[in-house]
Point group: C2
């Protein structure tokens, strides 16, 4: 029921996923609306419907709404995963509400203090995306959260994207170890000491899209601003192309000739092609899609969920973090057991 184009586009994406990916999609929400939409799209295959009476609106305060509306579609969807009737949730609705529902209904993975939203950014190297996390779940972070983000991103990159030793960067304002704000300087030390992470060093703003990093960690405040900025820049560039290319007689002619090339450029720049963010660190696979998602994005989001399940991402994050916690107990590493390393109170 969530997102700007629900339920029609959501249903269309789900139908295509069930047809092409060999998954069974359960549509959660208002039965009548969903059935009408299914009829409209005339799918040959049967999609299950899980009825949910309520929806959470975009302007509602997430935690309050999640608690006050147990029968909201996002809660019902999370419960399907909790009770093992489903293996993943995909939502294009209120992202804060999806996070709150995941935390309350599914809980955190052992060893993870804060779940993070990972988003894929395209890079200069075609076909080689970089995962940035967190892009919005945690605005105020401690160094050890960012360290855990690095581990979760590494596991995801290894087992879903098939990169043997993902290179991890810390989003920062300079290359040197001593650069950055308090959070960055202390996180740098933790990442350098973590044997589970191939830490390449600081990633400056200019390095984000260079393709030299597979995983970049940052707090959710910086990450969210960067994500939304990047999305907007894609659109702005396309608008400048539309404004400037056709100018003059030569321009109109050249642009007409280049139409197919412009479409390919749009695909390469456009962030919406990427399906959605993965909520990593909760005990269930959750994909947070963009509110503006249309059928192709929903299809991609369901594929992302399937890949996370097929490659046992959750199990691997959990076993990595538990192993590490045991190691640290053994050697009693001081940088991890300091009582108050929160930078923000």
């Amino acid at each position: 029921m969530g997102g700007d184009h629900a339920p029609s586009e959501i249903v269309a994406g789900a139908i295509r996923a069930q047809e092409e990916l060999g998954v069974e999609v359960i549509l959660v929400g208002d039965t009548q609306a969903i059935e009408a939409s299914l009829k409209e799209h005339k799918s040959p295959c049967q999609l299950e419907i899980a009825p949910a009476e309520d929806v959470i609106a975009m302007e509602e305060e997430p935690l309050v709404a999640i608690k006050r509306k147990p029968k909201a579609s996002i809660n019902v969807a999370m419960d399907l995963v909790k009770t093992k009737q489903a293996q993943a949730v995909v939502s294009a609705g209120h992202s804060g509400a999806a996070m709150a529902a995941a935390l309350l209904r599914l809980g955190r993975l052992k060893g993870i203090d804060r779940p993070a939203i990972g988003a894929m950014f395209p890079t200069l190297i075609a076909g080689k995306p970089v995962i940035i996390l967190d892009v919005g779940a945690n605005v105020d972070c401690r160094p050890k959260y960012l360290e855990q983000f690095a581990v979760m991103g590494t596991v995801y990159s290894q087992y879903v994207l098939g990169i043997p030793e993902p290179k991890v960067g810390l989003l920062n304002i300079g290359e040197e170890d001593c650069k950055g704000n308090d959070l960055a300087i202390r996180t740098h030390q933790l990442l350098q000491d973590n044997p589970r992470v191939a830490f390449l060093g600081n990633a400056e703003g200019r390095d984000v899209l260079s393709g030299q990093f597979d995983v970049i960690v940052c707090d959710g405040f910086v990450g969210n601003i960067l994500l939304k900025f990047a999305e907007a820049v894609g659109e702005i560039v396309l608008q400048i192309l539309r404004e400037e290319l056709p100018q003059g007689l030569h321009g109109q002619l050249g642009t007409a000739i280049l139409k197919p090339n412009l479409k390919r450029i749009k695909q390469r720049i456009d962030h919406a092609e990427h399906g959605g963010g993965l909520l990593l660190g909760v005990d269930g696979v959750c994909i947070i899609s963009h509110g503006s998602s249309q059928a192709p994005s929903i299809f991609n989001a369901i594929r992302l969920a399937k890949e996370a399940i097929d490659n046992q991402v959750l199990e691997r994050i959990q076993s990595t973090e538990i192993k590490r916690a045991k190691q640290l107990d053994g050697i009693n590493q001081p940088s991890e057991v300091k009582p108050s390393e929160d930078t923000t109170g």
Copy 2:
């Protein structure tokens, strides 16, 4: 002596500025190297040279280097302003060193706790830039620093760019007042209460380039990452255009026809056209240019300096802040006199 193309490109930009802008440029640095460069560019006009024996290298720790090398070109240049032999400094060298030299030699303006670097970003509305500050001088900020950045940006926008009531935004992760990290939430309150600032509310990442804001404030950590990301995105887009546009027979033909249009797009996207950042809040006009600056950037930087001087930006910032401090003393506003509002310790 600073920057990747010194002294040749710096000298070329300075010659053009002296010829076209009616300013007198003093070149500070190694006399022999500068004279050789002047000879090479064969300028009809005379540029003064202020000899300086030392230079600060990019890898040096700014504060240490500034103190250890009193005769470094950046120190000599700042002293020219301090002793009123010059009205502004333009540097394409080590930006941290330029800031440190400005702080130590010129000092802060009364009423300003922390100077900030303001950078102009182009927006969707052609010819209407937005000033973002801070883009790198202060990595850990208090709410009142961001409030002062808003005042400095407002004064600059009013008196240099001629915008009667500049609209100010707070870089944040949501539109609602309650959104953001600790710093953003507390800054929001201060900006709302400040009669000197036309506060429009939070600016999300997607709003930065929309043109609806004239000034956007953030801490130097976020601002620097955004600035470097934006610079890189411009280059990446141009590279994607170069890769994708000429593909196929139609592509080659169309691209050949569009050559002049592509050049205009490059100018509109390219950040380097903007000359440099203004170090606001120190007692002297200082322009921090990009290390990669060539002659056109240096020319633009000198023009920026001239505009700041002609429009008495420093005097206006100082009088605004002193007036406000007096007002606050009178009404004893609690949000300003709390002893510890630092979020980062």
